[in-house]
Symmetry: C2
Subunit: 339 residues, 2 copies
Amino acid sequence: MPQTNPRILLARRPQGAPVPEDFRFDEAPLPDLADGEVLVRHRFISLDPYQRGRMDAARSYAKPVEIGGVMECGAVGQVAASRDARFHEGDWVLGGFGWQAFSARPGRALIPIDPAEAPPSTALGVLGMPGLTAWVGLTDIGQPKPGEMLVVSAASGAVGQVVGQLARIAGARVVGIAGGIAKCAFVKDELGFDATVDHRGDLDAQLDAACPAGVDVYWENVGGAVQAAVFPRLNDFGRMVMCGMIAQYNTAAGAAATGAPPGPNLGPVVRKRLRIQGFIVNDTGWQRYAQFRAEMLAHIAAGRLRWKEDVVQGLAAAPAAFIGLLQGRNFGKLVIALD
Amino acid sequence: MPQTNPRILLARRPQGAPVPEDFRFDEAPLPDLADGEVLVRHRFISLDPYQRGRMDAARSYAKPVEIGGVMECGAVGQVAASRDARFHEGDWVLGGFGWQAFSARPGRALIPIDPAEAPPSTALGVLGMPGLTAWVGLTDIGQPKPGEMLVVSAASGAVGQVVGQLARIAGARVVGIAGGIAKCAFVKDELGFDATVDHRGDLDAQLDAACPAGVDVYWENVGGAVQAAVFPRLNDFGRMVMCGMIAQYNTAAGAAATGAPPGPNLGPVVRKRLRIQGFIVNDTGWQRYAQFRAEMLAHIAAGRLRWKEDVVQGLAAAPAAFIGLLQGRNFGKLVIALD
């Protein structure tokens, strides 16, 4: 076993879009294990848009990462040493860790993963936080019904992929908004969405063609111009599932900015009886993880659910990959594979 | 019985704020009664902000009034003639009628009113559509809990009065926003709200003082500057009950305007898990009217619920009273008393 723990720290708070200098590589000693703790050797770490918010000092739903602290993330790995009798060397686990090679965590904070059920990296994507996000938001807020029209932005991303496929399984028609020909082709041809909209083209014309009868559920991952184009198309009793607004995460003070650009006039919310609701998967999602995972595994076994990962090799590549994620340069769920 | 039916018609579609010339007085013959119909002599007709929307041609949740058509409204009155065996001359009834002295309606469209329970005009206010609106929106969306902070705009109005009192009965603390010293004093001293904010003063400073720990439920009746001041104060898991936005009903094309002023950036909806939801009382409210009325009568009997009406005499005064309503010149639930 290596004697040091390579890790990536937050060097300073970003001014707008993060740059490589906002991160710092570091090697720490391997952590000691307290009673009940487990040492996990990370095999895959998860890069997700929410981590941008943790880099800002502004108050949000979770505490910011401290300057000099390890960047936070979910990860899957294998037990390297254990002082919890339920875990043994080599066991696969999922947990909330950091951008580093090893983590020591209480056993009770870990979720065991059976690699025979699905490749372990899926515990960071379709079977992990992003998939759970899609499942919770659709179950609690979106509630797509047969024949309804659901539009999802960032459709080829980790959450968007699952949102569209689960909505189709529920009987809805699904339009995915993505950036560029390759992502749109993937969403339509590989994931089976009914239509796609390339946000680099004419949004209104494409939405007119794809959703001539309006939109019943809009899954919001991006905000900005895409939100402005979809919002007026919401039908009576439409739902807007507010999952994220990545388009503004790099503005001066992130999503918390009081100087953020204005949003839609809310008059139609009354007239059309719209429901605009935000949620954070961590609030109630993990209590329902077992049900979620069972349903998802059944969909996978039946050939109803696919996924695409964007796997980048090596911890040192994480900052550049994360910077690209915020620019939409990833293609599928972004994970870092560690040696 | 008079032989003619005085009424007020929509003369033309308003350009912005309605003016007297948008209305036209008219006398029609008394309507003939078909089998099953009831002739109702109106005693009180109800002027409400939603009627502004019916004057525009724009698509909304209800059909516009035609040019030359009778202005729509709710009314209470007494049966003048009946071809429905369940109704007899002199019975008090509530229904959807028009700005006129008599209406012929199918008996099944009428709700009997017992004048011994409460003054009949209350069937247009605290026990009618505005009260039911408050009850439905709080039950389905606002759901104030003991100790939570609810803010309601247009607090002395027909809906706002009831919203605040029902929220206090539910154990919430309640701040009412109203225009001017007299309305604020009424809301605090007569209705028992915990504090008031005069929207003619410094909104931010008054809200800082009244809601130092933020807002859990915002009941939106007005939009505009009041919405902009309250929205950033919503706490995590806050609810915004979208009942109306009277501040923009007189803009170019009313609430349906595509050129309406922008609203709040929706980033906080994700971060704070907000729920912004609109509703129309007619969707599900009247199916629950019996339960609503029973609960409200119990509150009144226990001395927990008060109301204020602004009673204007005579059908001919309706246009000016309605124009004033849209400017906030009424004080309490606006009704027109007919001779």
